[in-house]
Symmetry: C2
Subunit: 344 residues, 2 copies
DNA sequence: TTGAAAGCGCTAACAT
DNA sequence: ATGTTAGCGCTTTCAA
């Protein structure tokens, strides 16, 4: 058995004694909440370093009623593209660390009770809630909490909440607008799996709404359909789509998992991309870039969303006012998958 | 502005007064650390419910030196298949909740400092460390910690540590053995991206070692190569492979991200699966099942690994002895992608 | 079976 | 610019 380095726990009084100051001075050096002479600060910092002092998180939380921990509530359910979630989580953790906070991971499953639990026990100072539904039952709860929170996505009734998301309505519009400029007249949106629409996920519906509205404005023929993942489903979807719309020349795909099988299915049906069919994806840039045919796309800015969510929370914790709604503007990048409409 | 439900924080003394007992009795009802008469227990439980009491996490941590939080250190780097990580994380969180613990998410990037930080500050009671390298610098640190930890994966020197993983050596063997029984004589392993081997990731090397050893035992011709993700890379890999081994009839793919492009590349080279080429995958069952051709596979048991990791930690926290090494036995499921070797 | 009371290590109000 | 000290809310000895 290796010997355990059972460090006897250095406390603030040890540091104080070592630096020949009072405990409060050490505390203030650490928090910066009052001015300290340069000489004292240096002595204290030196003692902290030499003794390897680390404040006890629990004691600190008890005395200050701040845990310096954020809760991140993540979905781990089907129909959601995991890599996007992970990028988001990574960005939240990294940004939180930048503000001296840690991140507690909660699953969607714990639902309303989970939120109440971490809030009431003062385990966390603030909450980030992902995958918000239009009729999300957590929305009213969060509104009633004293704890600051940020929702990723917008419930139907968002007043009194701080919400943040890519502007999916504008995203749908931007995609259509791009295709319209290239001369396309008949377009389709291939979206999330049916269950995502069914459970009232705002982003899926908003993309569809933006897409349809813009297509109408441009006088285009347009159609929207949900899209299961998997090769089988992709082929069926594409078959049906081409049967009903033989003169289709442009599609928008808003479904990361279905993207590769859809691309394959198009080829099989004799629709070459981009010669016969222009494709715009809504997906992370990395995915669009590394596709067999690099895809024109609107990026899902997971890292930016994560960073901004934490930023909003920090502002709220500092007592600053923040805007209730933040819609991130879509950014379309042209790549190889979209070209002017082939002459008929 | 909505009125905040600024609940005035119910504390243990409030419950005690309400139930007409002492605070310690309430504490003991909650912890079960001493016997309480049925009558008292019921009164206390009722008061807890009526007042909506939730112990203050920080106060509890301070008084008991237990935070009831586990740290989960996750990789968020390239060459790792995100969905597997997420399943694992989900399983850790869910299992931890089962034992009344929460999970703090740390990124690999924080490295050794991150571990020291959460350990020294008593933020967490125990650690789960994923994506362990053969020469992982965190291994000696964890060995020296008083905090219990479990590593997912094995460093080169694992003595004195609690490690847990799928038995990848056996996995490589099982795959080869299955192909051997079907009469295949020339086989290849398509593995992780080169950088994964380069940084000394044990599981990639172990699969290769098991694969090669078993192939030798069966007197088969075998080859191993790293495999970048992406369609381009897949095609090149397959081209080169078939050029060098024209009589190849079986492959093992241990790389989730490369799986779809590889399957496509095989088709393009005129190798139909399974008629011309038998394929065994090492990947989550969901992925193997939902492929265009359902794949014979060895499952990556992410959920089981997560649950067992937490179980081991709970045992250690309870002062029980646990085995240092836990190798989960591989389980191969036959599906449509493997058949007897075509008669030459 | 239950209660009283001494801390756990830190912060922040109050002093100086 | 710094020190003193009273808690923060809970667990756990020690007593009864």
């Amino acid at each position: 058995m290796t010997r355990r380095q059972e460090r006897p726990l250095v406390k603030i009084t040890d540091v104080a004694r070592h630096a020949d100051v009072s405990p409060s001075t050490v505390s203030y050096v650490l928090s910066g909440k009052r001015s300290i002479s340069a000489a004292t600060r240096q002595r204290v910092e030196r003692s902290i370093r030499e003794l390897g002092y680390r404040p006890h998180a629990g004691a600190r939380a008890l005395a200050s009623s701040r845990s310096n921990v954020l809760a991140l509530v993540m979905p781990l359910r089907s129909g959601i593209h995991m890599p996007v979630q992970m990028r988001f989580a990574a960005s939240v953790v990294t940004t939180a660390r930048t503000h001296d906070h840690d991140v507690l991971l909660l699953t969607q499953e714990e639902g309303v009770d989970g939120l109440r639990r971490v809030a009431d026990s003062a385990l966390v100072d603030a909450l980030i809630v992902m995958d918000v539904q239009l009729d999300d039952e957590r929305a009213p709860l969060l509104r009633s909490f004293a704890l600051p929170s940020v929702l990723i996505g917008f419930p139907a009734e968002a007043a009194g909440l701080t919400c943040l998301d890519l502007d999916f309505t504008a995203t749908g519009e931007v995609c259509v607008s791009h295709l319209a400029q290239l001369g396309h007249r008949c377009v389709a949106l291939l979206g999330s799996p049916p269950e995502v629409y069914a459970r009232g996920t705002g982003f899926a519906r908003r993309t569809a709404a933006g897409f349809t509205a813009a297509a109408r404005r441009f006088g285009m023929v347009s159609t929207v359909r949900a899209c299961e993942p998997g090769g089988e489903a992709a082929r069926e979807t594409v078959d049906a789509l081409l049967r009903e719309h033989p003169d289709l020349t442009g599609v928008v795909v808003h479904n990361e998992s279905a993207l590769p099988p859809l691309m394959e299915a198009f080829q099989r049906c004799g629709m070459r991309v981009p010669e016969d069919l222009s494709v715009v994806a809504v997906c992370p840039d990395e995915l669009a870039e590394s596709a067999a045919i690099p895809l024109t796309s609107v990026a899902i800015p997971a890292a930016e969303v994560g960073a901004r969510a934490v930023g909003l929370l920090m502002a709220k914790l500092a007592g600053r006012k923040v805007p209730e709604a933040t819609w991130l503007a879509p950014r379309l990048t042209e790549r190889a998958s979209t070209v002017p409409r082939p002459v008929p």
